[in-house]
């Protein structure tokens, strides 16, 4: 009689010796015989009920690993059709649900589609929603500390004290202070004037967590007071909405997802992907801050037109230095922003604005 059997290596768990054997499955019993020519004649080395076996999940063509109750183990070479596995499964060692997902390409592709869906949703909405939820529990003292250390680093590496006339600085700060106090009496904020170490008149303004707004000399020099106030209105939008903290929380969430999907080895690739997404997200935030600035100016009684003229000053500046390609910009294009600001300026004052009401 011919016994259906499979080649295996049997390890006793006591020594590293290889025992070449053949295993057969007969009903609920696994039999081990030496790997010699005539199987039916050779003696049975061991007989184990399949219930007592610990069967590891199978990986495709890798040898099947089976642990026996006596501490020895088997490494079975299944046939390409998986005959050994089929009989073993009938003997109540069915694979788990996750294994069934991995085992079929159809399931794997469904998982891939779902995974891509989750990642896209996290990017568009999920990470933002979670960030909004999480930063509610972050006390504002953390914002202040992060903002302070960011300014200290910038001061040490990049920024220098402002060289603007004190008179102009004071005038701007007084006027802005008055307007903010009128509209947001409880808001903590701080205005810092700076130039850059390189001496070049850098054209920029930015908000840090904790309410610090930094104005660079180049920008202030190129604009009149009302245009500067329009820029400050935009930055105030970031302060009121805690945009930087929101962005940090959102980015941490997306990095965590990227870390799970691509692992530690590709942390670099993951951070590039998240970085590009951050820019995309930042553009939406900037549009909101522009809308906030429109409302701020309107309530302050300053013509909204000054936001539009501030953008045209910016546009001239960009034409002199060269624009950045769209996908690398963290702000919408200045032309778009100018158009939106000009449209807002033309709208009657009663027109509703979606930002700044909270």
């Amino acid at each position: 009689m011919v016994i259906v059997s499979w080649r295996a290596h049997w390890f006793d768990g006591q020594r590293s010796t290889v025992h070449a054997v053949r295993v057969s499955l007969d009903g609920q019993v696994l039999r081990i015989r030496p790997d010699v020519g005539d199987e039916s004649a050779s003696r049975v080395l061991a007989e184990v009920p399949t219930r007592g076996l610990t069967v590891a999940e199978r990986f495709f063509a890798a040898p099947r690993k089976i642990e026996l109750p006596d501490g020895s183990s088997l490494q079975v070479e299944d046939d390409p059709a998986g005959g050994f596995d089929r009989i073993l499964q009938q003997a109540s060692h069915a694979p788990g649900p996750v294994y069934r997902l991995i085992d079929r390409w159809r399931n794997v592709l469904a998982c891939l589609a779902l995974l891509l869906g989750v990642i896209v949703w996290m990017d568009r909405q999920g990470a933002g929603l979670m960030a909004s939820f999480v930063i509610r529990f972050v006390p504002s003292s953390v914002d202040v500390r992060i903002g302070r250390s960011a300014l200290a680093v910038a001061d040490a590496l990049w920024l220098a004290p402002s060289r603007l006339p004190v008179l102009r600085r004071n005038a701007l700060e007084d006027r802005f202070s008055h307007l903010v106090h009128e509209q947001y009496p409880d808001l903590t904020w701080q205005l810092e004037f700076r130039s850059t170490r390189s001496g070049a008149d850098a054209f920029n303004a930015f908000a840090l967590p904790g309410g610090t707004i930094v104005l660079l000399d180049g920008l202030v020099k190129a604009m009149d007071d009302e245009e500067v106030l329009a820029v400050l209105g935009h930055e105030l939008g970031h302060v009121v909405h805690r945009d930087v903290m929101h962005g940090i929380a959102r980015q941490m969430g997306l990095l965590a997802v990227a870390g799970v999907v691509w692992g530690h080895m590709s942390r670099f690739a993951a951070s590039v992907a998240v970085g590009v997404q951050r820019l995309h997200f930042a553009r939406d935030v900037e549009t909101d801050a522009d809308a906030f600035a429109v409302t701020f100016l309107r309530r302050a009684g300053i013509p909204v037109r000054s936001l539009a003229t501030a953008f045209s000053v910016m546009q001239r500046q960009e034409q002199a230095t060269g624009a950045i390609p769209a996908f690398l910009r963290d702000h919408p294009s200045t032309a778009e922003r100018l158009r939106a600001a000009a449209a807002a300026a033309d709208r009657p004052v009663s027109g509703s604005s979606r930002a700044g009401n909270d």
């Binding site: 999940e57 040490a156 997802v257």
Partner: protein, 422 residues
């Protein structure tokens, strides 16, 4: 012209195979070489299997003479892709909880597809313990990253905690990883007295945290360069002592591995890797600046400028990185022995560089989907480069009872990225 990887060694006779092994140009035909060694490994199994003429004493291993073998890797990118997709989805949906189960399956897949002398390794770690380890490690990591934002005292407390706990966690991690790895039914192990682990790991923890501590206590990055420079000079020695401990404290069954000291070789490796990185950096800078002058600052110019900026960072990193990875593997394994067994590595910088460049490019072009294929291709080359040889037959090793290993340490060093393993 012959194409690498096209020769079917299955049709070769035993003598022809051995002759091919002696004459093959490994650097030029790495795929042929891998196929050839795999074929030889497979035949050796056949040779060991008892035949009808012998008494059926299956306890006899018939290999009598010396041998030389490569580790082989039998997993494919497509298989790993399937595991990776399902793991990534379940981990994201379970907010990271499933990652412990994913880690076990992944480690089992890699171990079971890594073969030495025809028999695969295996991994036996328990997911629940890994999960607990990850929670503790994540807590420590967050505490470390954020504590200096609260106050310097809080920061120093966490660093103190890391100095006290870190080495113990590292020792536990090594034990967990090795006692849960087996080959031919026997477990590996890690045996280092706490004194040794602390002597090796405390300087590493201090070096790793020094920049953060300095910035946190001073509140500004001034003077940071001096601190970093001091630790950079000490780093090769720290790395050498870590590798030395990792290898000489590892055992298989009851027998320990040995590691010959290699302090000078570590300094030479680091110095030449940094040198190569600088040369490539200067070359890219020079070529780029020449090009930049001749280009108009239009849209295309801006794109090329961006590509150049990326290249100045990425090219030196990848060239010096593959030189370092290859050199480190050769250095570490050529100093490792196990009884009569000697290890080595045939890994080549140029082959690794080509492999890394091609695979990283494909990962970027496919928005990350190619990642599992890339990971397997790189792992396969690195695994298959490792050689084992001996004058005598493969030794028979007896088992030794393994102690308890905690997963906490394992996960801790996974997350801190301090495990500079092979």
């Amino acid at each position: 012209m012959t194409v690498d990887g096209e020769i079917n060694y299955g049709e070769f006779k035993r003598e022809e195979l051995l002759e091919a092994l002696n004459s093959i140009d490994r650097a030029r035909y790495p795929l042929n070489f891998a196929n050839l060694t795999r074929e030889i490994d497979t035949r050796e199994i056949d040779a060991r299997a008892p035949n009808e003429n012998q008494p059926s004493n299956i306890l006899t291993d018939t290999a009598k003479s010396g041998f030389q073998a490569h580790l082989t890797f039998t997993g494919t990118g497509a298989e790993y892709f399937r595991i990776w997709v399902v793991h990534a989805l379940l981990t994201v949906l379970s907010f990271g909880v499933y990652s412990a189960w994913a880690k076990v399956r992944k480690a089992r897949w890699f171990a079971q597809h890594t073969q030495l002398l025809g028999d695969p390794f295996d991994y036996h770690g328990r997911p629940r313990r890994i999960l607990l380890g990850r929670v503790i490690a994540l807590g420590l990591l967050i505490a470390y990253r954020r504590s200096f934002e609260w106050s310097p005292i809080a920061g120093l407390t966490v660093v103190g905690l890391l100095v006290v706990l870190g080495p113990a966690l590292y020792g536990a991690a090594q034990r967990f990883r090795l006692t849960n790895t087996s080959w031919r039914g026997l477990r590996f192990g890690f045996e280092a007295p706490p004194r040794t682990v602390y002597a090796v790991c405390v300087p590493l923890v201090l070096a790793w945290t020094s920049a953060t501590v300095w910035a946190g206590v001073h509140g500004s990055p001034k003077g940071l360069r001096a601190v970093i420079a001091v630790w950079l000079l000490a780093w090769p020695a720290l790395h050498a002592s870590l590798k030395s401990m990792q290898h000489e404290r590892t055992r298989y069954g009851e027998q320990r591995f040995a590691f010959r000291p290699a302090l000078g070789a570590f300094y030479a490796l680091y110095a030449s890797a940094v040198g190569i990185g600088l040369v490539v950096y200067c070359a890219v800078l020079l070529v780029g600046s020449k090009l930049w002058v001749s280009l108009p600052p239009a849209f295309l110019g801006t794109i090329l400028f961006g590509a150049w900026i990326v290249a100045t960072i990425a090219l030196p990193c990848i060239v010096a990185g593959s030189y370092f990875m290859a050199g480190l593997q050769r250095l570490v394994w050529s100093h490792t022995t196990f009884g009569e067994l000697r290890f080595g590595s045939t890994i080549q910088t140029t082959v690794l560089l080509g492999l890394l460049a091609r695979n990283l490019l494909l990962v970027v072009l496919t928005a990350g989907v190619y990642w599992p294929f890339a990971a397997v291709a790189i792992a396969r080359y690195r695994v298959q480069s490792i050689t084992v040889e001996s004058e005598g037959p493969p030794p028979e090793i007896a088992a030794r009872k393994h102690g308890n290993a905690t997963a906490v340490g394992d996960a801790a060093f996974d997350l801190f990225g301090l495990d500079v393993g092979w």
